[in-house]
């Protein structure tokens, strides 16, 4: 018994370094943001002594920030929808396909994750820019006579973000579909169900946990993305994450920046919880 207690204590040494790191450099810092959001804005310094709720009042009284929060949430929602529509067929093909291309296809899906986000966003600026690939092609074909606005607007941000986070939608859905017994599909087929019916009545409901995980990941990641909207949106269109970083780094308003960041995090979290509730309920009924 005593030896066992000693062993248990010794095993704690294994988790200690990582555990302490997470506690001191993740848990405490997140609490620091909350505290910071109630600090008094400083003059020349990031913050002054004392506490206030003024930062939150500032957020709610300025329609600029409310509109921007709404727009950011919309961008997140549209990206999630686009990723779902594009990602589901690919996930299905990867999970059920057995051709020799499968390995390559899987590599292609993983490839964006191995290339830095700055490089991927840069790639999109080359494709979408006013002098970019698409506009050059359109002009040389005589379809348009001046560049179509694909960058420095919401459309460009949505296209690039959908690309950046598509793997995070595909991978969870793929593993969910892989977990479905293929004999269910053959059974349905032998009973005369069409391909569409099989997808709607069997694959979709059973892969719901994967869809849910993919949607939540994509939504949260696109809300908090910084590099892509900063490079594609330029100074014309800003998402909330870009404004937060600008507020902190360029103008040094730490308390107000914290309040902005927390408001975005809280609204995002509320939407995620509502989404999780709704999707679970809907599929229980069906």
């Amino acid at each position: 018994m005593n030896a066992r207690a000693t062993k248990k204590r010794a095993s704690l040494l294994l988790i200690a370094p990582a555990g302490l790191l997470i506690f001191f450099f993740l848990v405490l810092p997140y609490l620091t943001i909350v505290v910071m959001s109630f600090r008094v804005p400083g003059d020349g310094t990031p913050y002054a002594p004392g506490f206030t709720t003024g930062n939150y009042l500032h957020f709610f009284s300025d329609s600029f920030f409310l509109v921007q929060t709404f727009n950011t949430l919309m961008i997140g929602a549209v990206c999630t929808l686009v990723c779902l529509l594009l990602g589901f067929p690919v996930a299905w093909q990867l999970a059920r396909g057995n051709s020799r291309w499968r390995g390559i296809a899987y590599g292609i899906v993983l490839s964006p994750l191995l290339v830095g986000i700055v490089i991927r966003s840069y790639g999109w600026t080359i494709i979408l820019g006013n002098n970019g690939m698409i506009n050059r092609t359109l002009i040389s074909m005589g379809l348009v006579d001046r560049p179509v606005g694909l960058m420095y607007n919401t459309l460009g941000i949505v296209i690039a973000l959908s690309h950046v986070f598509l793997p995070f939608m595909i991978l969870p859905i793929m593993s969910a579909i892989q977990g479905i017994d293929p004999s269910l599909e053959s059974a349905a087929r032998s009973l005369g169900a069409s391909r569409a019916t099989i997808i709607r009545r069997i694959i979709l409901p059973l892969s719901m946990p994967g869809i849910q995980a993919g949607c939540i990941l994509t939504f949260v990641l696109s809300l908090s993305a910084y590099v892509t909207p900063a490079l594609i949106g330029g100074s014309k269109v800003k998402t909330m994450a870009v404004t937060v970083v600008d507020t902190l780094v360029d103008t040094f308003q730490w308390p107000f920046g914290s309040a902005l960041a927390l408001m975005l995090a809280v609204t995002g979290a509320v939407i995620v919880v509502i989404f999780a509730r709704l999707t679970r309920m809907k599929w229980k009924v069906a």
């Binding site: 294994l14 810092p29 093909q93 899906v109 290339v115 490089i119 790639g123 080359i126 690309h163």
Partner: protein
Amino acid sequence: MSKTFFTIFCLLIYIFLLAPIVVVVLASFNAGAFLTFPPQGLSFRWYVVFFHNEVFWRAIKTSFWIAGVTTVISCIIGTMAAIYHVQFAGKLKETVRVAMMAPLLLPEVLTAIALLFFVYTIGIGTQTVLPMIIGHVLITLPFVFINVSASLETYDVSWTMAARSLGAGPFTRFRRIMLPLIKPGVIGGALFAFIISFDVFTISFMLKSVGMSTLPLQLYDYLRTNFTPEAAAVSSLSVFLTLVVVVVTEKFLGLKIHRF
């Protein structure tokens, strides 16, 4: 008919996934002074410009040593945590998993802000490279943890027992029995840690010390004001280095990646 349509649809998505990366590599061979399509002839001109650019080389060196240090630290503490998680955690297993995965699940920008405030509050500040390394270790830890945990799940504890009954101490048991068996997981985790640390932007952006720059930071800085294909040459080299690291690791060390 519908099957052909489906295949074409998927093919288009694969093209979409590869497009920006391929375009960057193509653009790097552009002979013209600006990024234009179609490229004005092929040339290595921008690679030559980049090879003479001191600033980018310094950034690449910085990125390499930061990623190296991060990988070593992350691998050691991540492997320890994974061993605890799989073999000793008991009822705490799920709690440990959530805590270790937290840096991956929380938005990177929030984590970066939180760390920035924290290092200033406790007085370290960003004068040294320490905050950035802490941030990188934090963000790479989940990848090591998940890979090592996955290979430990198939590790049979009776092997450790057998070694112990033959008189092997804990370190010998780890080095001679467990480590060789979980090696693919550790290497997979190390690979991911290195690549993630090499590429991570937001954490580095918030926590960098004055005058210090990693490759993604330097590239971002450059892209805000310049439009020459030099950035494409730098990016292509970075993509190529990643590819080399992945292929070499797979060929010589054996690789098993568990990501989700």
